[in-house]
Symmetry: C2
Subunit: 354 residues, 2 copies
Amino acid sequence: MSEQINRLLKNTTEWLRGTGPDADVVVSSRIRLARNLAGFPFISKLGKEQEDEVIDLVEEAVSQTPALKDTLFIKYRDVTELDKQFLLERHLISREHAVEQGEKAVALSPNEVVSLMILEEDHLRLQVFQSGFNITETWRIINEVINELERNLSFSFHTDLGYLTACPTNVGTGIRVSCMLHLPSLVLTKQVNKVLQALAKLNLATRGLYGEGSQASGNFFQISNQITLGQTEEEIVEGLEKVIHQMVSHEKEARQYLLEKRKAKFEDQIWRALGTLKSARVISSGEAVQLLSLARLGVDLGFVSSLKYSELNNLFLVLQPAHLQKLYGRALGPSERDIRRADLIREKLKVVAI
Amino acid sequence: MSEQINRLLKNTTEWLRGTGPDADVVVSSRIRLARNLAGFPFISKLGKEQEDEVIDLVEEAVSQTPALKDTLFIKYRDVTELDKQFLLERHLISREHAVEQGEKAVALSPNEVVSLMILEEDHLRLQVFQSGFNITETWRIINEVINELERNLSFSFHTDLGYLTACPTNVGTGIRVSCMLHLPSLVLTKQVNKVLQALAKLNLATRGLYGEGSQASGNFFQISNQITLGQTEEEIVEGLEKVIHQMVSHEKEARQYLLEKRKAKFEDQIWRALGTLKSARVISSGEAVQLLSLARLGVDLGFVSSLKYSELNNLFLVLQPAHLQKLYGRALGPSERDIRRADLIREKLKVVAI
């Protein structure tokens, strides 16, 4: 099973493909749905045998779902801790799913567009990713998948409340819609806090690049709805789309402002980031993410034309511990990782003339 | 006259030629002698007409000195403030000589080995530079020049005290011997303060790259004798030589230590410095000197083979305000200098692969 997981290393994972509308600001769009199987208690009350039963039921349903053709079905009993860490780094599974006790599994579609976590907080957590600002297509795909799954699985549903979930914050639609935004210019012009405060008032949540609890490293901000009850899925999707649209405009205006009003200093920051990335022999992941964020901006602004967007995006993935260890084929301690990370970045940025 | 001064721009000034013994640690050796003309009061009591008289006398003597053949004789009334700043940046004249009131002049030998300041603190301040650790040759040259000058000039001399000087700290031999050392590894290993304290106990003075009062920027330290009385010139020269010899050993040991014990971090620092120098679009002189110091170390340690030592050394000169303005042929304000400085450094370091 580890070998099949290792093959993903050669993939450009969907959410970092670097294409799609407004991909220079919106890295990716993501929707997840929470569902529980009727006739089974929520996961905290689920016995060992029932866990296996749920996994088998879902595996069977997945195999009969045309939208999930060629899906890789991974039972955690068959994989290593490193494999799970690797899937987590690719955002295909959640931290809780990777570390918590009990039988668990995940189904991954080719190209990593769909990920179906089994026995996370709910029996099912279905996620769909699309590159760029493309909530519409994400919504279309996840609908197709969940509808097909529902033909073979019966979900806990209450006519007044909607879909029932382990945590009340997900009850109703069980939907979470999010976009990963890259907002370096709003950060550089110190407007980002104001923007984030406005989002909080709209009941939108903000997280970092590396998931729940992570800081907004590398100027990446994941914006998502918090309310799942009292609105239709379509209203939630449209509401978020509108907000993201405004944020894209703000960020683009800030980039223009920096280019016009603070040109020398702004360009200097971007070129220095590239210079450091191209020359460092030891680099922490925190520093690398921060500098790669500026490099990304350099690509966006046309300073750097020799670097493919998907390759740059991919560096944000492979600089993480499990990816580095998979790439180098062995366990690496933190100081060795800092060296290998620098090697890898230098290699990838060789094509960039500074 | 400004045009003749501008021609020096194409020179690699002697003290930065980057050759000579132990040039990887000892940038240059320098001796200066202070002399006053018999029959004239010290400079503070010198009238306007006497100033002209001294200058004329010295000009005449210089023209009759074989060791000063082809000397450029510069009267300050014929040059601009920028010219003087430029000569100061090349260490050919002192700050006081550049800024203080009254008639002044300087005689410069081709290749800038000899500089004779007229009407500095004393009537004459003769300096000789040699690249690398070469006090012996410096001493030979300055002896030759002063002896030849003495055939045509009569110096104030007291049989008990020796040569008389305006400031009592120079009385006696009137000699100051100094070496400019580059001690990055003693700085990186935090040994340098201990070393400097030991030098102070030996009555040796420490200054920075950019002269009296300047800090030890770029890990450059100018070490010189303070005592001029009660020792022969030869004793002073030998005493300093011995100390510098030890410092060269210390620095080389520290480099070896860093290469062996802190290899990854050490190499990282050097390569990052090169990366920043090759990429920055705006750079202050302070930061540039600090980074060029590490680049110099990179050349010393063989990391960088494509960069000539003299070219790198020359950057320490041309990054200064007057040099930048001479190079670009017009007045440049501080922020524009930071941009032009970065341009110049990038251009020179193009040959360096990082």
